[in-house]
Structures are given as C-alpha cells and as structure tokens.
C-alpha cells in the first residue's frame, strides 16, 4: 500500500495512472494484480496493489528442476517478493519511468510517501532492510510476524510487517521497491537472463551505483548467476569510475569453513600449509579427499612437481562445480592428464585410491559423524594406504577468539564435531599406531599461547615395512 499526504493527495491517481474511484484488475505473469484505493481524499490517498497469485499455475508453469514439496506448499502467494516486484513493474510501468502527462511537475517533485508491506520476506532480518533502504532516504519500521501464535516457542517468522516513509519522487520509490523486494527475498522465481541485467541497470539508474550495498544488491538481484554478475559489475564499475577488480573482490567464493573474521586468510594459510607439507614429503601423486569445489586442487595443479592429482568428493555436484571452476574442459591435454575428478565416499573402501604418495583430508573429518570415523580410517589408512596422509581440522579451543561466534556453537552448521588439540592428537596417534604410521602435528594460523591455532594439522607417514623374516 502506497500512501501520500501531498495535497491534493488524490493526485496520486494521476501519478499512478490508476483512477482512485475504481477497482481495476490487470493480468500479470503470476496471476492477477488488483489496484484499488482504500482511502482517497484531499489530505491522504492510499493506493493498494493486491497480487492474487494462482498457486497451482505457479507450480505448473514454474521450473521443473527441483522436486521438493516446498515447491508446492510455499509462501509465494502471500509475500512481497519477486512476484510482487514484477507485478509492480508491469502495473505501474509509466509511473516508474517518471512519466505523467497530466501532472508532469508532480512526477518530478519530492512528495511525502509511505509504503506498507505487510509481509516482506527477509531471512536476514530488519537490519538488512535498514541497510538497503536507509541510504535511499527511507525511514524504516519493520516488525517481525510471529511464526505461529499457538507455538510462541517457535519465535518469529522471516516476514516483516514493514512501513517505509520518506520524501521522494514516486518513480524513485517504485524503482527502489522493484529492485530491493527481490533482493530481500533472496529467491528469484524466474530465470535470470541477459535482459535481467539491463532491467537492473535501468531500474537502478541514478541510485544503485552510489549505494553502499551495490555489490550485494546486484548479486542477489541476479540470483548468484556469476557471469551476469560480472557483466553487471563491469558496467556498474564503468558508471562509477571504479576498477572492476575492486568490485569483483567481494565475489570470491564463500569459504566453506565460515570462520567469522577474515575467513579468507585462514583458508589460504591452510592451503599453503598443506602445500608446504606435500613439498617436504616430496609427494608426486596426490589424492585430495573431499576436494569440494576445488580450491586446493587449483593450487595443486599449479605445482608442477605433482604428476598426478586426484580429487575425490562425495558430492557429485561438488565434483561438477570443481570441474567447472578449474575449467577442465579447456585445459591443455598435458595439463588435463594430470588431474582426475571422481565421486567417491570415504565411508567405503575404493581400490582405485591405492598406491598414492599422499592423501590430503583438508577440513573433511569434522564433516563425518564420529561413529563413521572408523570406516573412514579403514578406507584411508588400511585400504588406500598412501605413503603419507595430511589431515586438517578446526581447533575448537580457538573458537573463543572468534567474537561473532556464539559460545558453544560450531564454526559450520554441518560440523559433526570440533576437537580440542588433545582430542585430535589422541585420535591421530591411535590411528597411526593401528596402521603403522608415524604422526606429527603443526599449527595453521596464529598459534595463540592459550588456545592454540585456529586450525590443527597432522602429518601421517607410513613406516617402512619391516624387513622380511627369514
């Protein structure tokens, strides 16, 4: 609902190109958009845009890739997300462009406006709404809607009953909503194509380039489609006389182990530590067990000493992502021959993993249930039995040094455990003893005198087979 108190308030009807005394309906992609005025007099005029979403059609016409129940029972019909933004753009397209034949001076004027959005979906809470709207001149009031009054223990939903007030051109107000509703929603419901980039740039003209959250806005508006993000960023950088590298920097892959402060340096340090160990060991043929999307693989490939690199992950999509990230299909043949990516699981033995110089398990074991560790131990140390094994895992003692990490919380929602240095040492030494390895430990990251380093690393080396008996 959009309200103005600029007298005569009923001029809002001219600005929106919709008559205040009629209820009108417009077909839009998701269903029917209705426009009517709950109030229209000299002092105040409120236009309401009501989007009547057809839930069955939403499913039938929608993408058919994800087959989950969530596709059918979902909040789309009730929230002010991307569907509403699309309806807004189509029903008020002239107003959004600032065109008004009847009152051109009004369209150009700053007028007092108030926008009420009863269910604004935003997983990141009120704070993000403020970060996005305040720089544009809005005052934000946003109250969370409780999940279910019958189960107060469940807390609040991700919906905010939101009211924005400010003085600005109506066209600007509409373009803010058009861009920022889907950004807050975070889930776009139509394919992002090249024309989406144009739409964003058009709607954001005049304000997006200067917005402090422009990177986040572009990224989320374009639903994480990186190539498009890049294009959009390049053009934004042009518009803002900025170096594209500076904008793109924020696009570095999110690090899996989300150590709250300065995550990148630790991830980088960890990879460097692992590479250093491999060099010391003189390993030539290396397994990256749990390679994820290939951050370590990239550096392994760069090391010309390594003649064979095998990346293994339990997730088929991670393997695909790694292959894409490493651009395997474009690699020169001689390079390409050095690397193999394959799906496998460390809870099963895999005969093809036998006979390597070294295996790396970087930030892997803590993603395996402790009860399954014996199976992993058997698969790695008894079946694959490489000459050396490098294992890294978080040091839970160090968690107290992360200010934003709630006490007692693990660093990643999928961590099944996080060990102290003593726990890691105990496990490692027992494994080494059972399988005929020696083991040594090293810190990764600053070695805090009280709580140790953020990451701990163990190097297992297979003992030489004892001299054969007579």
């Amino acid at each position: 609902m959009l309200t103005t108190t600029a007298e005569p308030a009923t001029d809002l009807g001219y600005l929106l190109h919709k008559h205040p005394d009629r209820a009108q309906a417009f077909p839009v992609a998701a269903g029917t958009a209705h426009v009517f005025y709950p109030r229209a007099d000299q002092e105040e005029c409120t236009a309401a845009l009501l989007l009547d979403v057809d839930p069955v059609a939403l499913v039938k016409g929608g993408a058919t890739t994800g087959f989950t129940l969530g596709q059918y029972v979902n909040d789309r019909p009730y929230v002010a997300g991307s569907l509403l933004a699309v309806a807004l753009g189509s029903v008020f397209s002239s107003a959004m462009k600032g065109r008004c034949a009847a009152r051109p001076e009004l369209a150009a004027r700053l007028i007092p406006l108030s926008v009420r959005i009863p269910t604004l979906p935003c997983r990141d809470g009120r704070e993000l709404v403020e970060r996005l709207f305040t720089p544009l001149g809005w005052r934000v009031v946003a109250d969370p809607v409780p999940l279910d009054p019958q189960f107060p223990g469940w807390g609040d939903s991700r919906y905010l009953d939101t009211t924005l007030t400010g003085e600005m051109r109506l066209a600007d107000a509409l373009s803010h909503l058009y861009v920022l509703l889907p950004v807050l929603d975070g889930s776009k419901h139509y394919w992002v194509g090249q024309d989406e980039v144009d739409k964003l740039l058009r709607a954001g003209a005049g304000w997006l380039a200067a917005h402090p959250e422009r990177t986040l806005i572009s990224r989320r508006y374009l639903a994480h489609q990186r190539p498009y993000v890049r294009t959009a960023l390049e053009r934004l950088a042009d518009a803002d006389d900025t170096d594209v590298a500076e904008l793109d920097d924020a696009l570095a892959e999110p690090v899996v182990t989300a150590v709250p402060e300065r995550p990148e340096p630790l991830a980088v340090q960890r990879r460097h530590s692992v590479l250093g160990v491999l060099k010391e060991l003189g390993a030539r043929r290396v397994l990256d067990l749990g390679c994820g999307n290939g951050a370590l693989l990239r550096e392994l490939i760069a090391d010309r000493e390594l003649t064979e690199i095998v990346g293994i992950d339990v997730s088929a999509s991670a393997i695909e992502a790694a292959a894409r990230a490493l651009q395997l299909d474009r690699m020169a043949e001689r390079q390409r021959e050095r690397i193999t990516l394959r799906q496998s699981a460390l809870t099963y033995t895999d005969q093809t993993l036998a006979g390597y110089d070294a295996a790396v398990l970087m930030e892997v074991i803590e993603h395996v249930d402790e009860s399954r560790l014996p199976a992993l131990e058997h698969a790695v140390f008894a079946a694959a039995r490489p000459a050396a094994v490098v294992v890294t895992t978080p040091n839970v003692e160090h968690n107290v040094r992360f200010d934003s990490l709630e006490a007692g919380r693990m660093r990643h929602s999928d961590h099944r455990f996080e060990w102290t240095r003593a726990q890691f040492r105990e496990w490692s030494e027992a494994v080494a003893a059972r399988h005929g390895y020696t083991v040594g430990f090293r810190p990764v990251g600053p070695d805090d005198p009280d709580v140790g380093p953020p990451t701990q690393l163990a190097v297992f080396e297979r003992e030489q087979a004892p001299e054969g008996g007579r």
Binding site: F36, T68, V145, R372, A383, P466
Partner: protein, 851 residues
Amino acid sequence: MSEPRVLRIPDMALVVLVGASGSGKSTFARTHFAPTQVLSSDAFRAMVADDENDQSATTAAFEALHVVAGKRLAAGRITVVDATSVQREARVPLVALAREHDVLPVAIVLDVPEAVCRQRNEARTDRTFGPHVIRRQRGELHRSLRALAKEGFRRVHVLRSVEEVDAARIEIEPLLNDRRTETGPFDVIGDVHGCRGELEDLLTTLGYDLVRDEEGRAVGAHHPAGRRAVFVGDLVDRGPDTPGVLRLVMGMVAGGDALCVCGNHEQKLVRALSGRTVQVTHGLAESLSQLSGQSEEFRAAVREFCDGLVSHYVLDGGRLVVAHAGLPERFHRRASGRVRSLALYGDTTGETDEYGLPVRYPWANDYRGAATVLYGHTPTPQVEWVNGTMCLDTGVVFGGKLTALRYPEREVVAVVAQQVWYEPKRPLAPPPAARAPARAPDVLDIADVTGKRMIATAHHGTITVRAEQAAAALEVMSRFAVDPRWLLYLPPTMAPTATSTRDGLLEHPAEAFAGFRAAGVPLVVCEEKHMGSRAVVLVCRDDAVGAQRFGMPGPGTVVTRTGRPFFPPALTAQLLERVLAAVTAAGLWDELDTGWLLLDAELLPWSAKAGGLIRDQYAAVGAAAGAALSASGAALAAAAARGIDVADLMAGMTARAAGATAFREAYRRYCWPTDGLAGVQLAPFQVLAAEGATFHTRAHDWHLAVADRLHEAGTELFRRTASLVVDTTDEASVAAGTTWWEDLTGAGGEGMVVKPLANLTREGRRLVQPGVKVRGPEYLRLIYGPEYAAPANLERLRGRGLGVKRALALREYALGLEALERLAAGEPLWRVHECVFAVLALESEPVDPRL
C-alpha cells in the same frame, strides 16, 4: 583316408592355429568351431582397413584381435586365433594373453606340403604374394615346431598332411577342476595335518562308517547316505600320523567317497619324496620320518596321490568352490601356474608379521562372487562366514579343532584336538586383522554401490539403478545415514489411491477398495495413519547380540526413511531400552527365536523429526498467509466503505483466509512439544525380520496382533494402530470401510493405508501394490497447499498421474524384501547393503512428491 585323429582341447582354451598361408587354417576353423569363436587376422585387417590383405594394417589388426580375444577369455570362452602364427614373435603375445586370463594355450599346427599351399593361393585372386613367401613361412614353421611346448603351449597337435587335417576331430574336455556335475551333498573338512585320531572321530561324527584293514588301520570310509568328504588339503606334516591320514584319505578318494585338493604341504612333500632339495621345515620332518617307516610301495603311492591332486574343485553347478588357500572369483575353474599358486599358498601383502611369517592378504574381504568358497590354510580360532566364504582350518594340530562344514546344509561340525601336537609359531588367536577397527568382513567397497547396477530380486525380477541415482544416494548414505551394519532396510515409497472425482475430494477409499478388488484381492486391511514419521527400529536383546550379529556393539538403531537417526545416540539408547523392555515383556524373543528384531513403525509426533520443516515451511506459510490476508482484508474493507466495488475480491479473500486458517489447524494437529523422549510415541505395524526369518508372508492381522502386544507391554511408548478388515467384494463391508475412513479423517486425521490382508500378494506373475494410502481432505492441505480444495484448483489437481509412482513403489518394495531375505539368509553385508542403497537411490527419482 587316415584314422580319425581326436584333438583334445581343454575347456576355455586359447587355440592358436599355426600354418603357412594356404595351409587350410580358415577352412579347418570353420569346420570345427563356431564362426564367433574364430578370430581371423584377415577379418580384423578388413575391419580396421577395409581390405583383408592390406599388410600395412597388420599391427592395428592384431591389436584389435588381442583386445577381442582378451574379452572372450575373460568371459571363459574358447577362442581360436586364425593367423599364420609361424613366427615366435606372433605367438608370444598369445601365450601371454592366455596366461593373463588363466586359460590354457593350445597349438594346432597344419603342416601341409608347400605345393598344396601354393596351389590354393594361386586359386585366389586377392593373394598376390609369390611362392617364396610360402616357402619362408614353412621354414619358420618347421623351426618353430620343437619350441612350441617351451613357449608355453600346454598341448601341441601337429597335423602333417591334408589327409590328417581332413580326418581330425575336436573334443572339448572339461578341466580337471571342473566337477560342476557333482552336486553332493558334501562334508568339507579343514586342514588335518596328520591328526588321524581326530579325523577318524570327525568322520564318525559326520556319520561315516570307517573301513579297516586286517591290521585295524582305517583305509577308507563310506557314508550310508552317499555323502562325500572334500578335503581342503594339508593332510600331512606336523601331526602324529601323517601316513595314517594319507592311507585313510587315499582310500576314500579311490573308493569315490572323497575328493581332495592339494595343499601347500602336499606340494612340498611331493618334491621331497621325489628327491628334490627342500627345506625340511614346518613339520615336514615329522612326515618324512613317519613315512620312512612305511613300505616303498606306500611311499610311491603317496607320491603319486599327492602329485595328482588338483589346485581346486568347482562343484555343484559352480555354486561351491574348494581351494586350500581360498580363491578369488576370477580364478574359479581356471588353470594356470598362477591359479595353482594362489590356490595353494594364497596371496600375501608382501609384509611379514612380528613372528616373521608372511602377512596373508585378506582376499575374502574383497570377495563378491556368488559361489561359496571353502578353504583352509590359515588357522583361525573360530570359523565365520566372510562374504560367502569360510576358512575351515581351526588348527587341530596346534590343539584347536578339526572342523567340517556340511554342504548344502551349511552346518558346522567339529571335534576338539586330543592334545597340542605341534607348537604354533604364531599364537592361534587373535588374527592380526582383529586389530583393525572396522570388522574386516563388513568392509563395503565403493564398487558395491556406484555405477549402473542391476539387482536380481526374488519378487520383481531384475531392478536397474541408474548411475546418477546411485550418485545422488551416495552422498546421503555416507554423510547422513547410520552405519550400514545397522542399516538393514529402508521402507519403500507408497502410492496413493487412484484419484477420486467426488466433490471436494482428491482421495477417497472407494477407488482403493475397487483397485484391490480388480486385482483379485478380496480381503484388505485398513490401517490408521498417525501422521508420524516412518521409522525403522532395530532392537537387540543385548549389546553382545549387536556385536556378534552385526559387528556393532550397541542396542540397535531408530532411523528415518532415508536412514538418518531420529535422535542423538544417548536418546536413541533410551528409546531402545524401552522398546527392548516391551519386546521382552511381550515374550517375542522366544516366540520368534531371535536375539534381534527389525520393526516397521511410525514415530510420533511428526514435529520430532520434522520440526525444522514445519517451522520453516508450514508455519511460515501460515504466518505469511495470515498476515497478508488480514492486511488485504482490511484494505478491501476500507475501499468497500468508500463505495468501491470490491465484492468479488473480498469474497475470494475470505475463502482464501478460511483455507489458510484450516491449513494452520492441519499442521498444528501433528505438533506437540517433546522433551527428551517425553511425548515420543512409536506405532509399529509390521515385523520386518528376525534371526533367520522374514515375515512378509504372514497376514497383517498377525503383525497388528504383535503390535498390540507391544502396546500392552509399553503403553506409554507404543501407540496402537487402529485397523479394520474389509471385504472388497461385499458392499456392506466396503461401506463400513468408507465410514471408518470418514470418521478418521472427519476429525482431521491423516487417513489410512489399505493393504492386502494376506500381505505379499501377486496377481498372476505380477506383484500387487503392498498398500495404497487414502489421505484425508484436511491433511492434504499440507501437501497441496492451503487453497487446494477450491473447485478450480481441485479440478486441475485431479490430472495427477500415478503410474510412475506406482511402478516405483513396487520396485522399492521388492528391493526392501530382497534386503530382508538376504539378511535372513545370513548373506554378507554388501549383498544386503546393495538393496538398501538401491532403495535410497530410487528415491532420488524425480516423482511428484505430493503423491
């Protein structure tokens, strides 16, 4: 015309024809072998170069020929190579190929006069080479003749004239190890090592009548029921009476009462008796000194006997293999030096243990073959099945036991040693493998589950799992499921009843009853659905059962339909403690003669598992709908008050608001707070398996009666499942069933499942659906959304297709049964896991999840 000449060819051999161009090899091959058995170099030249005489294509042609020959030999098919093969260089790779596949290479030489060859070549327009070529080839052939055996050809047949070639006849001989026609029953006996007294005891215990000579020495044994003994080798050395054991076993073998494979000790004894230099260690000294007291004649007989022992036997149609040190599947029924060496000595890791003895490679852990393999060689304190294999050497000579396995009964019979006859170099127990944390036989290999898989099921034929389905399941299985040793079953998906066309309804019992009636099922049982979560409960009588039966010390598990645990370990243990108490109180351990029980159940409340989903999905939708619709209502009311015509819009909003309210009511019904286990309930409805037994052929009223007894024994934990038997051919009964469902769902209940009362049911050769669900209209709001029941929406939803879901339900059902039957039959873990994994893999199939 010469005498017909019979050329004997061992089964699976690689036959190499040797002869100059024009010697008639192709005609010979065509006459005696099937066209597909013959690989001709000419044909391969044509294949790779479009010209069978293009000599520049020879290298490529032979590469291709070797590849195809290799594939045939790997599959154990007789293969004939039709090329001149007169040069050693051409034959060497063929001998190597035969050895690589452990089959015997055979040469058939066609040595016909030069004139004949020349004449034949001249008759052909495509052969342009001169007579000197034939002369050269014949020269090479003659120089080769003597070397063929040395090159490794195990048989060499030379046909020296056109007449001999024409008169030859081929006979395929089975290999010595091939006794597939002998079907038993057998008593397979472990390493005896000269322990005659124990052997006589064991044979007597097994029911054999000993035959004695005038001196009272056992010289044979005969089983009145015609059973035959099979010795796994190592009859000799270390023990007190090697000659006595040999006399008895040789007599049994001669009398057709026994078979015996060669052990490493017999092999060495033969060498010693033949006067070769051997190290007289490992108890050989005892044999030699005992035999020195025997007659020269007896020693000669012993040498002949031991020398004639074959490396392994394949018995009972290929279902049973006996080899002294065991044998991986690819070597079964093969013959080569390598096979003999593996069968006698086994594989070693190349390492030695702290006693200086070679560490034996645990080949049985990798064994995935269908044949049962029985062997000895490695003394173990206790026999156990490892992937369908069993080591029967229980160290009688070291004071252990002498063990036999009755086949096909699979019953172990043992007699204890009279004394320690020989001090072991390495203590009998525990084997070094026991130090490994994962129990060796249960180690699963990635190859057991990944890639495209074809699983033969007893009830639904072969079920295919596509590679990408397996890939999807692998992640879930390894990252979230419980240990596979606990994960013995996953429940199949269930199809809904055919879609109803009644007003306001998508599902109704009428279609379910009619469906079963049409499938020829008169009696069905309706079972109440509790709107819990599907749970599979494995409970062990005590931790020892878990350790012994499953290799998992612990009370059992309670898992979801994707194999995840419901609760953290401590809470699971508490829950199982209560289940255990109820099972014990109900007297089920004795009644089902088992130490563990696998139950199919629902776990309540739904919010116990699905708390996150309910909050993020259902409650969120409810909250959004509530907030949005009330704001819309207020705005519309204001507009209406201004005299604007929004009546239609308001009516629509009111209906939607009612739908949203009903939706909230629907999920709230299935949520209640739980604290630890307080509030958690189990509603079992089927007994899946117990030791040695499955129950899918017992009628559902039996299963429900068991469930009722559990409810009576533990009323707080166990919830009863209400049920009603309906006769689908009786109108009154069908009406009663319908009323029953209306009562269940009228109060908002989830609905019911309709199953054939008899349980596993077929219609002709096809499986009937094991159950269909008939869900209540209010519950369906959670599935189809708050506004599904609006007539326009309902009309469109009725177009849902059920075919894929039904087919999937049957496949998963059959896989589940297969897992249970394999479990009950005591099959190795990988065989059970393969089926369980396949159920999970099929669940990744993109099927409308609302069905």
